[in-house]
Symmetry: C2
Subunit: 295 residues, 2 copies
């Protein structure tokens, strides 16, 4: 990864942090505890992979900054809400997230439930309130709703729940992850590109291949890290999947084959970007980042 990419990445992460704070309800506004807990769940944490994908894809067609920023914050709010709900006792029952106590530990379960619910609504609000024209935003809102719902992220969570203790084959595992994490990563890429212009079918196809590859790579690397890194590095409880008897790429393919798969997927992602030329450089570099990350 080049120095230019590193500089760009740090700038986007800083910009997104400011934008998230701007687009969350002020913590001084009633109900204060809810608004504080929403900010706690969203701010000051995470690698902001989804916002980075939005902005990187925004480079393809010179998307306007305001719409990109709102799209990036919207997907990050959806992602953050899913983590809050996923950490709750009735789901993964996790105490640590991004190196901090999870929302239901810091506050309580009822607050965590409402924080997630309110963040989802906020995501749709932030995107719908953009100054961009209605014709431009509406397909983006549709995409975000589809990627978040029962045939997207929530559906993937449901398959994940149903799969605990079961021997999934590779196709089933892939389908689960394509929904659970893949749908929102794909939405991030497409939202970034759509912020610039309405997409042609072949552009959607190429970006789908890219997003599918990095989405899967993201999960494979997650499984590798869960099996090899420690909790302090990850900022969440390590080794949890194995302890929960959840199927993972590592349990299915082994560690070495999983690493090779991640490299292959990264290559596939790079290939899919070729038609976009130099404008896809940051998307290219983000594929590297996803595969080479240590946490």
């Amino acid at each position: 990864m080049s120095a230019a990419f590193q500089t760009w990445m740090k700038q986007i992460q800083a910009d997104v942090e400011i934008a998230l704070e701007k687009y969350l309800p002020p913590v001084t506004l009633a109900p204060k505890t809810l608004h504080e807990a929403m900010a706690y769940a969203v701010l000051d944490g995470g690698k902001r992979v989804r916002p980075l994908l939005v902005f990187a894809a925004g480079e393809l067609f010179q998307a306007p900054a305001e719409l990109l920023s709102r799209a990036a914050c919207a997907v990050e709010m959806i992602h953050a809400y899913s983590l809050v709900h996923d950490d709750m006792p009735c789901m993964d029952d996790d105490a640590l997230r991004r190196g901090k106590p999870t929302v239901h530990k810091k506050y309580d379960e009822a607050t965590a439930l409402l924080v997630g619910d309110a963040l989802q609504a906020q995501a749709f609000l932030v995107l719908s309130e953009s100054q961009a024209c209605a014709e431009h935003k509406l397909p983006m809102l549709q995409l975000l709703a589809q990627a978040s719902g029962s045939v997207g992220m929530c559906g993937g969570q449901a398959i994940d729940l149903a799969s605990v203790g079961k021997a999934l084959n590779r196709a089933e595992l892939e389908q689960m992850h394509r929904l659970k994490t893949g749908a929102l990563l794909r939405a991030s890429v497409l939202l970034g590109a759509m912020s610039g212009k309405p997409l042609e079918a072949k552009e959607v196809d190429a970006l789908n291949i890219y997003a599918g590859a990095i989405g899967l790579a993201f999960q494979v690397v997650d499984d590798v890290l869960d099996a090899t890194a420690d909790s302090a590095t990850l900022g969440k409880t390590a080794g949890k999947d194995a302890a929960d008897n959840k199927p993972t790429y590592v349990s299915l393919l082994g560690l070495e084959a999983s690493r090779q798969l991640a490299d292959q997927l990264c290559h596939d992602a790079h290939q899919a970007l070729l038609p976009f030329g130099e404008s896809a450089q940051y998307l290219h570099d983000l594929a590297d980042l996803i595969v080479q990350r240590k946490a």
Copy 2:
């Protein structure tokens, strides 16, 4: 209430049931348990007060049926998701809803969590996919997001949670309900009207007064019923607010004064509709229905 109103109401309720089934993901589609549970939470139950308000307000400006139907289903999905989450053990911990086991009792807590999350996304999807023009739908999506989120329904829930065991005064109780149930009832009225045409400020003002009055009346009657009706009639656990030591209009004003307040609010609602003439007849009748209901 006239026979014409009764006929209209039954027709809308039947139409909405069919529309909800159409706009929910098919139960044959994977993940099946999630889609079954979403249908279980939404179909075959409830008085459909919010959809009735959408359609009644749609009469004001001859709104097109397709957009009205989608707006009605969207608010009902938001309402249904809020009930599913509200019934969970970490919130009101209720076993009975609309005469049936609550979703977390029928399925499990994790499924109930995901059902609510997925229904919220589905609500935004259903409204955003309408064939109506983007300029028309976008303010409606904004309104729905605002009414559902932290300064609307979720905010009201948060205030409700924080108020258990506290001595709220009447202003505080009113503020809580204005968000918790009032925001979505108001959104229903406005969405119905906005389905017809962009609203002028004085139209919004009049409809806000109407919606504020029926929203409050709805809650006052809820409190009266909770204190006086039995669980079989209500289709949910009666006497729960008193048992949970929650502040209610009955505990604050007494039973008789609460009934008088509901009548006064109904009168206020009727007055606010006068500028709309005969086109507001169903909204007028719905105010009566809300105050005179027995369950």
